[in-house]
């Protein structure tokens, strides 16, 4: 069996590769039986949404190479769309969520289409500018977003005759959304589309020679990122019942990028673990809230240093190798070559 390429790795990514998906899901499904605190469940349900957004960065940036500093904005597009559909048009939650996901995916695709005109580092600026402009739109388009006062009174979600209003139901809503988006992203990343994304990111010229359209691949990656963000936005509506522009700031988008990087940038599971851990630590441990940036920044620094020190090898593999060597056992496994840290 061939291991998929994971061009950039970190401790979280390494841990992730050894956890089996169904077992992890089962544990998470059972967790609320043990954890009774409504506050903890709420923090976790929101961190599932962050994980969805960070996975979108993995797909668009980690795989296709598009610096995506607009995940929070696409999240907002989905959230406002769904809030309007549910409050004003009386659409059901599920239908609204689907429409919201499609709208966010379309906006993501449009943003991706501009990537074709812009090269390299300018793309960071494009997505940052987009996020800032949309922040102003969210704040001032009162008829649709509620302006600075925010969008108030979003109806509770009803799914299959059940009204979601407990912390536990929010937890499961977020977890279900995470599971769905994870499966979709994972399938795409493992298919030839995922390989084509890596090909486009690493060498566009070569990719074209192999019959791959870099433009179509880049747009597809942003459509996928927007799709997940739209679903997360729908869940946010029903968990909080209230949204305002502050949630969809540049800082928030930046954090999603950061979670993805800490998670190993090209690892979906790594992104989930990093998002949940960092969100949880800085929200649950209230005394740490003020140190949020310090903790985030420090984690990124450590992740980068570990990667530099190991030359791209996974820390787990490296530790195992050293352990074997220390015991004097012959190391029969093929040494995994270091992967170059790709400068953007």
């Amino acid at each position: 069996m061939v291991t998929r390429a994971q061009p950039r790795r970190s401790a979280a990514a390494a841990l992730a590769r050894h956890a089996s998906d169904p077992a992890a899901l089962l544990l998470l499904v059972l967790l609320p039986l043990v954890v009774q605190s409504g506050f903890v469940l709420r923090v976790l349900s929101l961190s599932w949404l962050d994980a969805i957004l960070a996975m979108g960065v993995v797909v668009s940036y980690g795989y296709a190479g598009i610096p995506n500093m607009s995940q929070g904005t696409l999240y907002g597009v989905g959230a406002y769309a769904v809030a309007n559909l549910m409050s004003n048009s009386g659409f059901s939650f599920l239908l609204s969520a689907v429409i919201g996901a499609v709208i966010a995916a379309a906006i993501g695709g449009l943003l991706g289409a501009t990537a074709l005109r812009v090269r390299g580092n300018y793309w960071w600026l494009v997505t940052i500018a987009f996020t800032q402009v949309m922040f102003i739109v969210f704040n001032s388009w009162t008829a649709v977003t509620g302006g600075e006062g925010g969008f108030i009174g979003i109806p509770l979600a009803r799914i299959g005759g059940m009204t979601l209003q407990s912390f536990r139901s929010f937890y499961y809503l977020g977890l279900a959304a995470l599971a769905i988006v994870y499966v979709v992203y994972r399938r795409v990343c493992r298919s030839r589309v995922g390989s084509a994304m890596i090909a486009v990111r690493s060498d566009e010229t070569a990719a074209r020679g192999l019959g791959i359209s870099p433009g179509a691949i880049k747009i597809a990656s942003m459509v996928l990122a927007g799709f997940g963000a739209g679903i997360a936005g729908a869940c946010l509506d029903s968990i909080t019942g209230y949204i305002d522009a502050q949630t969809f700031s540049l800082t928030f988008s930046f954090n999603m990028m950061l979670f993805a990087i800490v998670g190993g940038i090209a690892s979906l599971r790594g992104a989930i673990i990093a998002s949940v851990a960092l969100t949880y630590v800085t929200t649950e441990v209230t005394s740490l809230v003020n140190y949020q940036f310090f903790i985030f920044g420090g984690t990124v620094l450590v992740a980068l240093l570990v990667r530099l020190y190991l030359g791209g090898r996974s820390p787990v593999t490296e530790l195992r190798r050293r352990w074997r060597r220390a015991r004097g056992a012959g190391d029969a496994t093929v040494e995994e070559p270091a992967v170059e840290v790709v400068a953007e």
Partner: protein, 261 residues
């Protein structure tokens, strides 16, 4: 004329970069199954010609016709779909991917257009057919790898292979989905003599097996004359001479152009 005949016809192809004239009215025909060698000093326009034929450069004027259809306004990814494969002068393998993954990328599955990508993406999400398709692709890739001595290396990252192996592998990636026209830009540059001979044998075997036409730019004249049916000599973007390897080798104009190089 309009049925797919696999013939390539360049008519009066000119290519300018500002004041630099890279190609200055090139006329050239490549018949199906024919192996054409291109020689010429550095800067004579060999790579530019390959870039035009593979869709990377648009000629300033003139036309390129393949299969009876104009292709000089088409993009590389579209031309690969139509059966024109190209190998670059410098290595362009994906070093972070494994040997097998690089080979899989060589299997042309339509991702040359937005529609193709949508289809591939939806297929990968929904499912079964996709996995099967990928399964057969992987089988074919594995089979070709073992036939060519890369069987044990399938799971190795390309970055850890030797230079000669990588040159060979890149060639293999270009023909894994057999093209009808293969464009090679200096396939043996930087490769040891023994490896160059291996590449020659493989290339001839594949050409016999799949029956594609080949255009080869190459500095090793002996190597090229063993492989090519016909040789074209370029100088300053124009055709200096054309004929069988023996004729071109004997051509006094070519000889004088090559003195000292």
């Amino acid at each position: 004329m309009s049925e797919p005949d696999g013939r390539l016809v360049c008519t009066d192809v000119k290519l300018r970069f500002g004041g630099i004239v890279a190609l200055d009215g090139v006329h050239m025909t490549v018949e199906p199954r024919e192996v054409v060698g291109i020689i010429g000093p550095n800067g004579s326009g060999k790579t530019s010609l390959i870039n035009v034929l593979s869709g990377y450069y648009r000629p300033t004027s003139g036309s390129v016709v393949f299969d009876g259809r104009r292709i000089d306004r088409h993009r590389p990814q579209e031309l690969r779909r139509r059966g024109i494969a190209r190998v670059f002068q410098n290595l362009r393998l994906y070093n972070g991917l494994t040997v097998l993954e690089n080979m899989e990328l060589g299997l042309v599955q339509d991702m040359s257009s937005a529609l193709g990508v949508v289809r591939a993406t939806c297929g990968s999400i929904v499912g079964r057919r996709q996995t099967k398709l990928r399964g057969t692709a992987r089988e074919r890739a594995s089979a070709l790898l073992s036939e060519n001595g890369f069987g044990a290396l399938a799971a190795i990252r390309v970055g850890s292979l030797s230079y000669g192996q990588r040159k060979e592998l890149e060639l293999l990636r270009a023909i894994i989905e057999p093209p009808r026209l293969l464009l090679l830009d200096e396939p043996t540059s930087g490769v040891a003599h023994s490896d160059a001979d291996v590449i020659k044998e493989r290339l001839l075997a594949w050409q016999a097996q799949f029956g594609f036409a080949v255009v080869i730019v190459e500095h090793r004249l002996g190597w090229l004359f063993d492989v090519a049916h016909r040789v074209v000599a370029l100088s300053s973007g124009t055709l200096l001479a054309e004929g069988s390897p023996e004729e071109v080798a004997a051509d006094p104009v070519v000889r004088s152009a090559y003195v000292g190089s």
